[in-house]
Symmetry: C3
């Protein structure tokens, strides 16, 4: 069995943003020499997501407005008791649950086994801090 473990680093200036990380994940898989296996890609922080969807700016705008409706930013401790801790990112923990922590992607013939429009995104919901994504692949 082969395995590879790498981290991607982010420092996003906006509170909320989506970054296409497909090329970086593809490069890690290619370097690993794994031909058949599974690749886990996960946010290492609990106010961030990794998800797969379309690389279309209008859709990303839609996601941002939709997430803001479902879990609005509100620094007060009335809406989010989490903000009693001195944080103001209660909303970000909720947005992350909607978009998910991780994806698992098949590796087939040495490549990410994707449908036609699948792209991997890092989703930031509480930016302006250093964050990491873990890429772990195992296989043969």
């Amino acid at each position: 069995m082969k395995s590879t473990t790498e981290r991607l680093m982010f420092q996003i200036p906006e509170r909320m943003a989506f970054v296409n990380i497909t090329p970086q994940v593809e490069a890690i898989v290619a370097k690993s020499g794994i031909r058949e296996g599974l690749c886990l890609v996960n946010a290492m922080h609990i106010t961030a997501s990794v998800f797969i969807n379309d690389d279309e700016p209008g859709l990303h705008d839609d996601f941002k407005r939709w997430l803001e409706q479902i879990a609005p930013f509100d620094p007060s401790p009335e809406r989010y008791r989490h903000n009693r801790t001195g944080e103001e990112n209660g909303d970000a923990h909720h947005k992350r649950q909607i978009m998910g922590r991780e994806v698992v992607v098949a590796i087939t013939n040495g490549r990410l086994d994707f449908g036609p429009w699948e792209q991997i995104f890092y989703g930031e919901f509480d930016g302006r801090r250093a964050k990491r994504v873990l890429v772990k692949a195992i296989g043969e």
Copy 2:
């Protein structure tokens, strides 16, 4: 290490539907000869889901009405900027995020290691097109 890779094909006449794919996934795992491992089942399209829940028609009706409330179908580009691209499936990209892209199921003693009511579903949110699901299992 053993691995297996197969695709399931769908052409759903409705816009939204749930299809129980547990028997097909079980058959792929049985054929693979993998006794202990992990089985990834994922939608290869970004307006579709694979998820695990109950095979109960009332619940599926509930899910459909609930998803329609959270992310209503609306072909106009006002609600979904994604629909400026000429698509009218902005809602489907959102519904898919709620229901998820993939499941990972343990393989134990050569079988999917399920709780009593767990069943795997393909969730279609923008039907009337050819779609695929990827089944990838690795193990020994």
Copy 3:
């Protein structure tokens, strides 16, 4: 390839609760002798979740109130047709979809490869019944 398979048991007195299961999962991984691999942790029941977020009681209160807004408890069969079956847990099936069924965590150097605040939780949405979580790790 090595693998390990264990079940955690729960009997939660409340309808909804979150239980930190990180120490149990860490102990299973340590005992397995797996140094590099993937660890799947999933609810075996369809009215429960396994998810990763912060171990902060205010946030857990926030999640409970938020989930109650998105999918309110209502034993009547009007809101949830699922409750025509004699169940009154239609809401729990929906809450579970928001919080997710499973997490996959990397194992690196024999340990769960976590960011600074990541903790694994069992999420119960229809307690007062015996429930199980499956922990399955594969690797080398």
